[in-house]
Symmetry: C3
Subunit: 129 residues, 3 copies
């Protein structure tokens, strides 16, 4: 169920985008212990005119390979979230060369009633999931 | 007030997009009992490289007419949400031919102070709404 | 940390977009008292076919210079949010000519564990922030 929304700058190849999405999904499965087919990903690209990403004064350099990942998920513990940030950072660096300084994550939580995966039903409420 | 964000694959005609947005708004009005002009909709399109939508193992087939709807709304009951999923599924199938297996919804809640519809005021707090 | 997502119609110049993002950031800094480099902005553009923005019956006219701003932030008080709406309205009008009737804001809250600004760490939990 987590919905992952990726925001990157223009210039990535199709192959690198595919690798990015695969790697991020692997980190998600590993961190939140979700089913393999629990994969819902959107990716949008931006020019430097339409995406501005600084660092809150943390002195983190950003490059044109910066990746912002927004996640919408049912509640997760702080431990799970921190594991996800660490795993995602590791996987994106190893598999796509995304620098740890180029990865930002923003998470928003919702609840069981907030998801319908098809057929007009809320599968977490109907106990299909 | 609900903000509806649609994510679809490339290939829809302008006419079909208009029908989709109209139908989804009708289902929203009917389910959440909002005013007719409480309509705020965004639509983005994706290639198969930039939108990956699976099924959490629910064995739901997806086609290139898949529709993901994200909704941001003040709190609604589980009953209202389930009615919305059912109504939206019915309306999109009847009016646009979107298969029930091709419709996914993800909802996020916020509160009265979180909306300004114009003039720099929070209309749910000022009691204009 | 607030993430600001802008949704506007096609037709803005690069210069006007830059002014819009700068002005909105200034209003954010002033209202939520965040660091100067706490700037995270995305902007997407739409045709009139893919963005429909009405007024909930409030009788607010909209033009093709309409601006929707989505904000994701850690919790803020109602007072802070109302100050932000007022400041944003004022700044966008003065600096970009965006009419007060053309500005809408939708806010969603999350918490300390929901942000990682880089290096795979949750900086609000590690006390780096």
């Amino acid at each position: 169920m987590p919905l992952m929304k990726f925001h990157i700058f223009d210039g990535w190849s199709k192959e690198n985008i595919a690798t990015l999405l695969d790697a991020a999904h692997d980190a998600m499965v590993r961190s939140f212990n979700v089913p393999e087919r629990d994969r819902y990903q959107l990716l949008n690209t931006y020019s430097s005119d339409t995406m501005v990403m600084q660092d809150t004064g943390l002195d983190i350099p950003r490059t044109d390979r910066f990746v912002l990942v927004e996640v919408v998920s049912r509640p997760r513990t702080s431990e799970q979230k921190q594991a996800f940030y660490a795993n995602l950072t590791e996987d994106l660096f190893e598999k796509c060369g995304v620098l740890p300084s180029d990865l930002m994550v923003s998470l928003v939580e919702n609840s069981d009633a907030d998801w319908s995966f098809g057929h007009g039903r809320a599968q977490f409420l109907t106990k299909e999931l």
